[in-house]
C-alpha cells in the first residue's frame, strides 16, 4: 500500500510540474519574489562561503548557550527535524547549515520585535553530516553543531 501510494504521488507531482513548465515555457524561478531571498548563500557550495554570503563574515565562536536539537541517527534523510534554541539575548538571525549537502545552506530566519530565539524545521540530508546552527546576536556570530547519522539519503529520491 505504502509503495503504491509513493509511486502514485511521484507520478502526479511530476505530471503537474511538467504541465506548468510546458505552459509557461520557462523553468526559471521568478525574480520578483526572490529579490530579498539570499540566493548567494543558497548557491554556495561550501559552508564557509555560505556563511560569508549570508552574514558577511565567517568568523564565529562556539557558544554552549546555543542548542541544536537533532536526532543522533536519522532513519530517513528526507525528514530530519532540527530545533535551534538560542539562549542568548538580542537574536537577529538563525541559519541552519548541513556540511555535507550539495548546497550546505538549508534555511535561515531573521527575527525582530517580539520574536524569541527559537527556530524549528525539518530538513533533507544526503548523508551523515554535521548540522551547524549559526546565530547572529548583538552583532556577533555564535555557533553550535550536532552530528546526524543518515542511513537513507534524502536527496536522490
Amino acid at each position: 500500500m505504502t509503495m503504491k501510494r509513493r509511486t502514485f504521488l511521484k507520478g502526479t507531482l511530476a505530471g503537474g510540474a511538467l504541465t506548468v513548465a510546458a505552459g509557461s515555457g520557462l523553468l526559471k524561478p521568478t525574480d520578483v519574489l526572490a529579490a530579498a531571498w539570499p540566493k548567494g548563500a543558497f548557491d554556495a557550495k561550501s559552508e564557509a562561503d555560505a556563511v560569508n554570503a549570508y552574514f558577511g563574515t565567517s568568523s564565529a565562536s562556539d557558544n554552549p548557550a546555543i542548542k541544536v536539537k537533532a536526532p543522533i541517527q536519522a532513519e530517513n534523510g528526507a525528514v530530519v527535524p532540527v530545533t535551534v534554541e538560542a539562549g542568548v539575548d538580542g537574536v537577529e538571525s538563525i541559519a541552519i547549515l548541513v556540511e555535507k549537502n550539495p548546497a550546505p545552506f538549508a534555511t535561515s530566519v531573521d527575527l525582530s520585535g517580539t520574536a524569541a530565539g527559537l527556530y524549528k524545521t525539518r530538513i533533507k540530508m544526503g548523508k551523515t553530516s554535521k548540522v551547524t546552527a549559526y546565530v547572529k546576536a548583538g552583532g556577533k556570530l555564535h555557533t553550535a553543531s550536532s552530528t546526524v547519522k543518515v542511513t537513507v539519503g534524502g536527496c536522490g529520491g
Binding site: 507531482l13 524561478p29 530579498a36 530530519v80 534555511t107 531573521d110 520585535g113 524545521t121 536522490g156
Partner: protein
C-alpha cells in the same frame, strides 16, 4: 494544486510557539522522473513571513534542502490571548499562500 497552510499556536508560560505546516512538494531540481528520465524542475518555498498583530517578527528563508510539506516553527515572547498571528509564504514559481491563527 491547492496548497494547504495550517497555522497553530502553543503557549507555554510567556512564550508562544507558532507552528506552520504547508502542504508543498519542495522539489530540489535534482530528482529525475523514472519514466521520462527528465529532471523534475525545482519547486520550493523561498520565504515564510510571520506577523504578530500586523508586525513582522520573523522572516524565514528556505532552500531546496527543507523537507517536503515543511513544518516550521518560531516562538514569540509575551503574546497575549487573542493576538493575531499571520503567516504568508511564497515559492520559486511565484505561488503563494498563507494562514492566520489567534493565540489561545
Amino acid at each position: 494544486m491547492a496548497k494547504l497552510t495550517k497555522v497553530k499556536t502553543r503557549t507555554k508560560g510567556d512564550t508562544t510557539e507558532v507552528l506552520v505546516l504547508v502542504n508543498h512538494p519542495m522539489e530540489t531540481g535534482q530528482r529525475k522522473d523514472k519514466k521520462t528520465k527528465q529532471k523534475i524542475p525545482a519547486h520550493y518555498i523561498q520565504k515564510i513571513t510571520f506577523e504578530h498583530n500586523g508586525k513582522v517578527v520573523a522572516d524565514a528563508n528556505l532552500g531546496a534542502a527543507v523537507s517536503k510539506n515543511p513544518l516550521t516553527a518560531i516562538s514569540i515572547k509575551g503574546a497575549a490571548a487573542g493576538d493575531k498571528i499571520k503567516v504568508s509564504w511564497s515559492d520559486n514559481k511565484g505561488e503563494s499562500g498563507g494562514g492566520e491563527a489567534t493565540v489561545a
